[in-house]
């Protein structure tokens, strides 16, 4: 099964996080277990968006998979992720290619 690269854009917050969770749920139900969530184009990430990422991580790991993140471009957003120790919970790299994924499927949110 492919590694799913989920590219997130603009605001990921309490308004659209439930929809994002639905996207993750569908991908997990299709049998995907390995994910790279690309945060580089995210301009605002709140606790609901962060919780959606942690939920994905827990469910992917329970199936034997994993979730990697890319750092948001905004330094202030990087600092928030470090405050919440996301860099200890997730593997976070600068770019998607740094994970060297072999067989991939691309998903963009919001579409």
């Amino acid at each position: 099964m492919e590694t799913v690269i989920v590219s997130l854009n603009e605001r990921i917050d309490a308004f659209n996080a439930p929809t994002l969770r639905g996207v993750f749920d569908n991908l997990l139900a299709e049998g995907h277990q390995d994910f790279i969530v690309d945060l580089r184009a995210v301009t605002f990430l709140d606790s609901a968006g962060m919780a959606a990422l942690v939920t994905l991580l827990k469910r992917a790991r329970s199936k034997g998979g994993d979730v990697g993140l890319t750092w948001p471009t905004l330094e202030v957003s990087q600092r928030i992720l470090k405050l919440t120790k996301f860099d200890r919970v997730f593997t976070i790299k600068d770019g998607v290619d740094d994970f060297a994924p072999a067989n991939t499927k691309a998903v963009t949110f919001p579409e």
Partner: protein
């Protein structure tokens, strides 16, 4: 010393919280003494946003037409936000400190507000419930 103030009333709906960012941007833009504008706007927006999302999730959980009143003030580099609502009272002490080493499904919101602001106070009276946030910016 110049005081800049913006008052805002938002319907208690998650889609309305995007307006907090534009209000704080407007407030900070009016205060030339503030440096590092982009980061400041982001952090203040996140703190105020988290309180409002918490109000919608908890205080107005069973209310369809709730309102959130915000008073945002910059005075000589000092930011304050008074955020009032009229739903169910909330006990901030009931929110456990998140275990950050494990990754959390809940609990990041209030943690972030406490990390980003110098002052976080909550009061509940017969007239409503109010959060007071404050931070010295420069």
């Amino acid at each position: 010393m110049t005081t800049h103030q913006i008052n805002l009333e938002l319907p208690a709906e998650m889609r309305e919280l995007v307006h907090i960012g534009s209000a704080i941007t407007k407030l900070i833009d009016a205060a030339p003494e503030i440096s590092n504008v982009e980061d400041t706007v982001y952090e203040l927006q996140l703190a105020v946003h988290e309180i409002c999302a918490n109000i919608i999730d908890h205080s107005y959980k069973t209310v369809d037409d709730g309102k959130i009143q915000l008073e945002l003030v910059i005075n000589d580099g000092h930011f304050s936000a008074d955020i009032c609502e009229f739903g169910e009272a909330f006990d901030p002490n009931s929110v456990p400190m998140p275990n950050l080493d494990e990754g959390q499904i809940r609990g990041y919101g209030i943690f972030l507000v406490n990390e980003l602001m110098d002052v976080v106070k909550y009061s509940s009276t017969a007239c409503g419930n109010c959060w007071h946030l404050a931070k010295q910016l420069n």
